[in-house]
């Protein structure tokens, strides 16, 4: 079981296959569960990881087996922090159409990013869109 004090760090390089990251996601969710994160909170973390990593593989690396996706995580009782980077050409996240506006409801794409933003407290893009950093905080456990 991970220590409740120092953040638990995970650093992994994944191949660009849409089935290559499920074990890592399960490892992160298991670690957070051991740190006391609840089922509803884990659902949001699961969604953010699933969408960010699959976006990096599908849209970033275009499933090119020669390219890697790098995932770095810091996990603690009250913080989930992750940085997901791909080796693609980058993109402008502001140019992604709003998937949720009435005229775009039936248009594919953009939903993954909307879900990440909804479930995380902060989401930032860097390296010309090749990296996504996200964070979810939860209240510190009471000693009482």
């Amino acid at each position: 079981m991970p220590s409740n004090d120092a953040p638990h760090t995970i650093l992994r390089e994944l191949t660009s296959s849409l089935t290559a990251y499920h074990d890592l996601v399960q490892e992160i969710l298991k670690t957070l569960a051991e740190l006391g994160w609840q089922e509803g909170e884990l659902f949001g973390v699961h969604m953010a990881l699933e969408e960010s990593i699959s976006n990096a593989i599908r849209h970033g690396n275009k499933e090119d087996p020669a390219k890697l996706v790098r995932v770095e995580c810091r996990l603690s009782q009250n913080q989930f922090w992750a940085k997901v980077c791909d080796e693609g050409d980058g993109y402008n996240p502001d140019a992604v159409p709003d998937c949720c506006s009435p005229e775009n409801l039936e248009v594919p794409g953009g939903r993954g990013l909307a879900l990440i933003r909804a479930y995380m407290d902060s989401v930032e893009h860097s390296e010309c869109g090749k990296c996504l950093t996200m964070e979810k905080l939860r209240p510190a456990a009471s000693d009482c």
């Binding site: 849409l18 509803g40 969604m47 699959s54 949720c100 409801l105 039936e106």
Partner: protein, 117 residues
Amino acid sequence: MGVLHRIEVSESANISVVRFKDQKIIDPEAIQELGLELFDLVEKDDRKKLVLNFSNVEFLSSAALGKLITFEKKVKRQGSELILSNISPEIFQVFAITNLDKLFTIKDSEADALAVL
């Protein structure tokens, strides 16, 4: 209808009730297969009234949502009717975040869905 790997279909009066076999709809190949099995219901079998019962579904990705959106378009094109039911609060939130609760007709229970079709 051949062997179905991703869904189970039962008939209630003239309504097809579809349940998902997977609790987590994430795997791209499974989503692809799910799409083909759903599309056949309206394009090949010409079913006119359908209920998608989500009681078994604990998690689904945006790729799965994309497949459901395509299915909804095909249902409309065939002149069929579709209602989603038994969606857990967590999954309903996913529909609400992406505004898909406005695109789909959603009922709390299968009985509610059957009552309005």
